[in-house]
């Protein structure tokens, strides 16, 4: 074998090996998806749930998996976990009408009646959530960002265009500022005030991070809240109406997976 042939063989192997690995993984995953769908269709929701969960554990990240998993949980009456996974699916497909209907179904069934967010930062962070994913908002903001800085660069390099560009720069600047504030607040809320769902039947909310503190009120399954602080085994939570308290870790689950 000549040197050239050996080199070509090595290059081909380097290209084909990862492809083969991906194909093998695809095959396994597809089999699990098919089995899960069949289990659901035949009414074996527990098996379907286990299989969808195993897909997520393998790193499969798709709105369909979260949606189907949520549907399974809804069928077995675990509305907390169902809402949690519908919310996770909404992070991928926020404009999906069927998804909105399912979320509304659970919100209607849950015991805690919850209004929209009242805390300003939470409102800002979620104001475009029903229509735009974080990626889409980031892409739009970046486009306007790019446009504004491009025009700014043009006006710096070509002073004769400054007068013409000034109104465009002002309008684009206002739009850019608005989008950046929306994106920034959304990223902040996601990171420091993440949304969570009560996934147990009932959870007591205390005035401090221990069960010896005063029990202020209780939340039922599928109630939605935000986590602001973690201390020991307790989480400080804030409800959409602004009420705060401490709950035991493990009673709620973050939507951010």
């Amino acid at each position: 074998m000549t040197m050239r042939a050996a080199f070509m063989t090595l290059v081909a192997a380097l290209i084909l090996l990862p492809v083969a690995a991906v194909r093998a993984q695809f095959g396994d995953t597809t089999e699990v998806i098919a089995s899960a769908n069949r289990a659901y269709a035949s009414g074996d929701f527990e098996t379907a749930i286990s299989l969808y969960e195993s897909l997520l554990a393998e790193g499969v990240s798709d709105a369909g998996v979260y949606f189907n998993l949520a549907t399974g949980y809804q069928q077995v009456g675990q509305n907390g976990l169902a809402l949690l996974n519908y919310r996770r699916a909404q992070r991928f497909i926020p404009r999906d009408s069927l998804l909105s209907v399912r979320v509304a179904e659970i919100q209607n069934e849950r015991q805690n009646v919850q209004a929209d967010e009242t805390v300003i930062i939470d409102r800002l962070g979620t104001i475009v959530s029903p229509v735009m994913t974080t990626g889409e908002l980031a892409a739009l903001s970046f486009t306007v960002w790019l446009l504004w800085f491009g025009l700014g660069t043009a006006s710096v390099l070509m002073p004769m265009l400054r007068v013409t560009l000034r109104p465009v720069l002002i309008v684009a600047g206002v739009v850019m500022l608005g989008l950046v504030v929306l994106l920034g607040s959304r990223l902040y809320v996601d990171a420091y005030r993440p949304a969570a769902v009560v996934t147990v039947e009932r959870v007591a909310v205390f005035s401090g991070p221990d069960e010896r503190y005063l029990e202020m009120f209780t939340l039922s399954e599928a109630a939605e809240l935000r986590v602001v602080v973690q201390e020991g085994g307790y989480l400080r939570i804030v409800l959409p109406d602004g009420r705060q308290g401490w709950v035991q870790q493990g009673t709620i689950t973050l939507v951010r997976s």
């Binding site: 769908n37 504004w148 800085f149 710096v156």
Partner: protein, 450 residues
């Protein structure tokens, strides 16, 4: 009468004696806080429940919280209800709080539970906190007798326990997984219980799933249930059986091993449909009437880390800053060149006029005019050839240069113009050059003074 006298004498003595006896019995509490730790069982088996009790006697209005010891070598499963009682000792209210922790020893041998701590301060603003320690507690943990232990014993200690097996569905197609759940419930160390052994055929595929635990306290005992879950893929078709599952535990009350069994389950496995898996996965599956619809799972790729994309946000501001920097640099260089030209205007004029003194005739006058124009061109950073006498005079007057100096410049320029039309070739126009130079020096001085 004598009796009455004796009684009258004895009564005060009796009163005094009663008072002294009462004073001896009433001892007011000395310590503000006193801790006492104990266990209900000092020689338990590994995995047997013991209760660690801490009694806090204190005279504070708001007793501080107790920090339990780390319980190394023990599994802390929970705590019982805290009880508080108040007693009056010599007019001082003493509160007795009892906290109880449920523990399970994890290894045989002597285990020393170190003291628990309690920090308090009578006046949190002005006084440092004082730490009070409880006593140590020693526990001699015995090993569970291994000689008679059945194979299905996995360390479960307590009494009683129950086992139950369920499946997600009893009928499935070959190759389809079925969820199998084994639920063990009872009173004991159920939290540390390992999964029971599954007596399934070797050719069945088994995937362990998560386990689910629920515990609660009932009286002074920890009770609960642990559910283990598997996905099993049976081999073969027709009626196949999930055999009875066996589990043994050590009954610490009677000191014997007990074994419990689950009911066997029969499955009906149908032949496979042999549909291509990719086809089934890629489309939204059809479901039975009445069931909510599912979504197709379009993407089966793993998550991609796109955090690095955020770095692109820096690019436009950097380009703008680079452009502004470039613009500032070029305009600064241009300003410096203008300043150099303006500051060197008189020097250049002197050099040019000096050269004129070596010329004769028309050339000399032409160069003289050019030297003057060049001076003003440099001074005002403009094209020298675009200037004329009127423009120069007008600009100088605008700069508030003395009228007389302006007239001198104009006179010199006119002299040079006239010289061009009637040139004297015999000698260079030294006088005119000198006059022009003096006028330019005066203009320059006027400009600098301004």
């Amino acid at each position: 009468m004598r009796r009455l006298f004796l009684m009258l004498c004895l009564l005060p003595m009796l009163f005094l004696m009663t008072q002294r006896v009462g004073a001896q019995e009433c001892v007011p509490p000395v310590d503000t806080i006193r801790l006492n730790a104990s266990v209900d069982l000092t020689a338990p088996y590994v995995g047997e429940q013991i209760i660690y009790t801490i009694q806090i006697e204190n005279t504070l209005e708001n007793p501080p919280s107790f920090d339990p010891p780390p319980f190394e070598g023990m599994w802390r499963a929970g705590r019982l209800e805290i009880t508080t009682s108040v007693a009056d000792v010599c007019g001082v209210k003493v509160s007795v709080t009892t906290s109880q922790y449920i523990l399970f020893p994890l290894r045989p041998g002597e285990i020393v539970i170190p003291p628990g701590t309690l920090d308090f301060s009578l006046n949190p603003v002005f006084e440092a906190r004082t730490r009070v320690l409880s006593n140590e507690v020693m526990v001699n943990v015995l090993p569970v007798p291994q000689l008679d232990a059945p194979d299905s014993f996995g360390g479960l200690v307590g009494y009683p326990f129950f086992i139950d097996t369920t499946v997600g569905r009893t009928s499935a197609r070959a190759g389809d997984p079925i969820s199998l759940r084994v639920k063990v419930e009872g009173s004991g160390n159920i939290e540390q219980m390992p999964p029971p052994q599954l007596p399934l055929p070797e050719n069945w595929r088994i995937y362990q799933q998560q386990s689910d635990l629920a515990t609660a306290t009932e009286g002074e005992s920890l009770v609960g249930s642990k559910t283990f879950e598997w996905l099993v893929v049976p081999e073969g078709t027709g009626a196949v059986e999930i055999p009875s599952i066996e589990l043994s535990y050590y009954d610490n009350n009677t000191g014997i091993f007990r074994t419990i069994f689950s009911e066997p389950i029969t499955l009906d496995i149908l032949p496979s449909e042999n549909l291509p898996e990719a086809e089934v996965a890629a489309v939204a599956p059809e479901v039975e009437a009445g069931l909510p619809a599912l979504r197709p799972i379009a993407s089966v790729t793993g998550r991609q880390n796109t955090a690095w994309l955020w770095w692109f946000w820096l690019l436009p501001p950097l380009v703008l800053m680079g452009s502004a920097g470039y613009r500032w640099q070029t305009s600064r260089a241009a300003r410096q060149a203008v300043r150099r030209r303006q500051s060197g205007a008189l020097r250049t004029a002197k050099t040019n006029l000096s050269a004129v003194t070596r010329q004769r005739g028309d050339r000399a006058y032409k160069d003289l005019i050019m030297a003057v124009l060049t001076y003003f061109g440099d001074r005002w950073n403009t094209d020298a050839l675009a200037l004329d006498q009127n423009e120069i005079a007008s600009r100088l007057l605008d700069e508030d240069v003395d009228d007389e100096i302006v007239q001198q410049i104009i006179t010199c320029m006119r002299g040079a113009e006239e010289g061009r039309y009637a040139p004297d070739d015999s000698s260079p126009p030294r006088a005119l050059v000198k006059q022009t130079l003096m006028a330019l020096i005066a203009v320059d001085a006027a400009g600098n003074a301004r």
